[in-house]
Amino acid sequence: MAGILWRSAEGYNRHLIAIFGTMIAAGLWVPLYGHKVGEGWLYGRPLLLPDKFGWGGALIFSLAVLICLYLFVTWIEVRKKK
């Protein structure tokens, strides 16, 4: 979301149009769905990771996921260069 604001502020007309599109979608959400965001049948339950794994476990879990992804994207890049 920051991206389209930033491009708009740099003078891209295209991204101003995108903001306009999101504004339209915003006005129609509640009339169409009948609830506010985060309420109703559509949404799952919020889960704070430490409630499940403890603080250390949640931190390790998060870092592990991020590091795996880091290695994965690097692997993709290295494989391309061959």
Partner: protein, 311 residues
Amino acid sequence: MTLYEYLHKNIYAKLFGKTWPKWSGGILLALLNILFFLYVMPLGGIYPAIADWGIWIFRLVGFNAEPPWGSLEVPWLSLTSVLTVGLILGFFISSLLSKQFKIRKDTKGGYIQAFIGGILMGIGSFLSGACIVGGFFSSVMSLSLSGFYMMTGLIIGGYFGGKLMIWQGKKKAEKIVLDFKPVAKTPDKHEYKTRQPMIGLFATIVLFVIAAAYVMKGRNLLGGVLIFSAAFGMVFQRSAFCMTAAFREIFTTRANEMMRGLLLSLMIGVIGFTIIKSNGFRPAEMLILPAGWATLAGGVLFGFGMVITGG
């Protein structure tokens, strides 16, 4: 060498000349976000603010729309709106100071595509509960499961968006080969003279004046948020920290420098947020969004929308 020349060469040219490396942007954004969390909240709420503005427009034309998030406040007193305006000002000031501001027109097809992308991003935000910044960037840092759900969705959306971009690129390339015209060489960005940095300086002063006005009216928090978010905006702009690119490049050019910067930022942020939350400096429940199929679907739609918009 005069003082002016010294400052120009050693401070200005370094800050606003070349784009900062992504990892430095990532580190700065993580640190800013940790500070901002201690101060008010994790960075987010950009989409709710835009939605609020949309609702105001709807109300102005006589359609009684309800805001999808929370209750509607007048923009100048709403925290999220002030934050978003601060971000925009930060982007604007930063692009002026680095002489990158330029009105750029696009083709009709481009506008339509951006419009559709915007709507998709809107729906994606509603489904996942927040936009990419709040729902993914800050949520992962906040140890919320929803952040990881949205990340998965964004990767899938980025995949489809990337495929579409490659297909479009091929079509465009065929067209260019047919009517090839040599492009005039554009002068180097820092060679030509422009008033932009002066306007940028002026805009910076305006920013501080507005913040001061908030403080004088007793709304210290809003003034602080305005300055903080402008700082966020400047770091985003100067390091060209584009999350869309991060998710798109995995599947298009496969140059994943941006994604690595983003992941580095998240790793630093998650450590900082864990320290803050586990010690109870700020409530642990802050920015814990619903996690479920809707989050994942929202991520997919948002990811696709942002890639075709080209944010």
